[in-house]
């Protein structure tokens, strides 16, 4: 028998062994749960960022209102950066939802590659700019903090922030690598489809 014909026969036989692992009702329940979980996960990120943003705003409005213009600029950069990040998260969630799985593979692969190309841009220059502006905003608060806090604690805060910035940079660079790998793989699929 031709090798391909023997594969065909094995394929047919393998189909005979299939038995349903779940009932339709169980699968439906799982689909509904999963749909909800995925939405909660995405909105959870947005909720955390929003809470941080509100927390910082309330802190500087009620607890430690800044008087100097340079400090106020710092707050605008920090809060503004967070707001931009929240908007990006929402757009990203919407764009991911727009990838259609029920169309032909070429179309899905094209949509996915556009999404990952966008993510790559966001994770790269845009996120780095936001982090830099946020950090700049934080350090712009230093002169006014010095008027109200002991110098030692202001230095501890400023040095501590460097540690946070290093962790943030590592997280961002991991994200960029992942997005780039995903994009490369999608492009690979697209070339295989040609």
């Amino acid at each position: 028998m031709d090798s391909f014909e023997s594969l065909k026969s094995a394929w047919k036989d393998s189909k005979q062994d299939v038995s349903a692992d779940m009932t339709a009702i169980d699968m439906q329940r799982l689909a509904i749960q999963n749909h909800g979980k995925s939405k909660k996960f995405h909105l959870g990120n947005v909720a955390i960022l929003t809470l941080v943003c509100i927390g910082i705003s309330l802190f500087f409005y009620f607890v430690a209102p800044m008087q100097e213009i340079i400090s106020r600029l710092g707050i605008v950069l920090m809060v503004g950066g967070l707001i931009v990040r929240i908007i990006i998260e929402l757009i990203s969630h919407r764009k991911a939802d727009q990838i259609e799985f029920n169309v032909d593979t070429k179309t899905t692969a094209l949509q996915a590659s556009k999404f990952y190309a966008w993510r790559k841009r966001i994770h790269g220059p845009v996120t780095i700019t936001i982090v830099l502006l946020y950090s700049l905003g934080f350090y712009l608060l230093t002169p006014e903090f010095l008027d109200h806090l002991p110098k030692f604690w202001v230095i501890v805060m400023d040095i501590g922030y460097v540690g946070i910035a290093v962790i943030l940079t590592l997280v961002i660079s991991t994200g960029i690598k992942k997005e780039m790998a995903a994009l490369r793989e999608i492009m690979d699929i697209r070339s295989q489809l040609e």
């Binding site: 090798s3 593979t105 699929i189």
Partner: protein, 164 residues
């Protein structure tokens, strides 16, 4: 689409196409049943999400195949390194148990040696889909598809002759 109709149609699709989807996922995962089950669940989660958009422009079978193929290909984007290595190791360590097991091993080893898209295409051929249906699922033009399938068959024959 009303909620009752959504549920009714989903259950109908699941009962009708579950075996077809699982077989394709199993082939795509090179015979790993656990990964194939997970992938089958992912496919039906996508079916549930996409169902309100189902307009019967394509046959239900083509529509489900599209979701299945796209879920397989995009799923692998996220887990490729882990999957490929784990499955290949599993194949290397798999004991030769029965004649039937060996037969499937040969099947999964052969199609597993192909790249992602070729693996999908040949499984659709093995499932006896017409060329025009495969073209509708993958978006590849029929003429191009014929050439591709011819090459994939040649490659499979080479793989099996070299192995056997």
């Amino acid at each position: 689409m009303s909620s009752a109709k959504h549920q009714e149609q989903f259950q109908h699709f699941y009962n009708e196409y579950q075996a077809m989807v699982y077989t394709l996922c199993l082939g795509y995962m090179k015979g790993d049943k656990d990964l194939a089950k997970d992938l089958t669940q992912e496919v039906f989660i996508q079916v549930w999400r996409a169902l309100p958009k189902f307009r019967q422009e394509a046959s239900p079978k083509t529509w489900i195949y599209r979701i299945c193929v796209n879920t397989c290909l995009l799923h692998i984007r996220n887990n490729k390194k882990f999957d490929a290595q784990a499955i290949d190791e599993q194949h290397a360590n798999m004991p030769h148990q029965t004649e039937s097991r060996d037969k499937y091993e040969e099947l999964y080893r052969a199609i597993g040696a192909l790249n992602d898209v070729d693996r999908i295409i040949i499984m659709l051929v093995l499932d006896e889909m017409k060329y025009e249906e495969i073209a509708a699922v993958t978006g590849i033009k029929e003429g191009n598809l014929r050439v591709k399938i011819h090459r994939i068959k040649q490659r499979l024959n080479e793989l099996m002759n070299n192995h056997g």
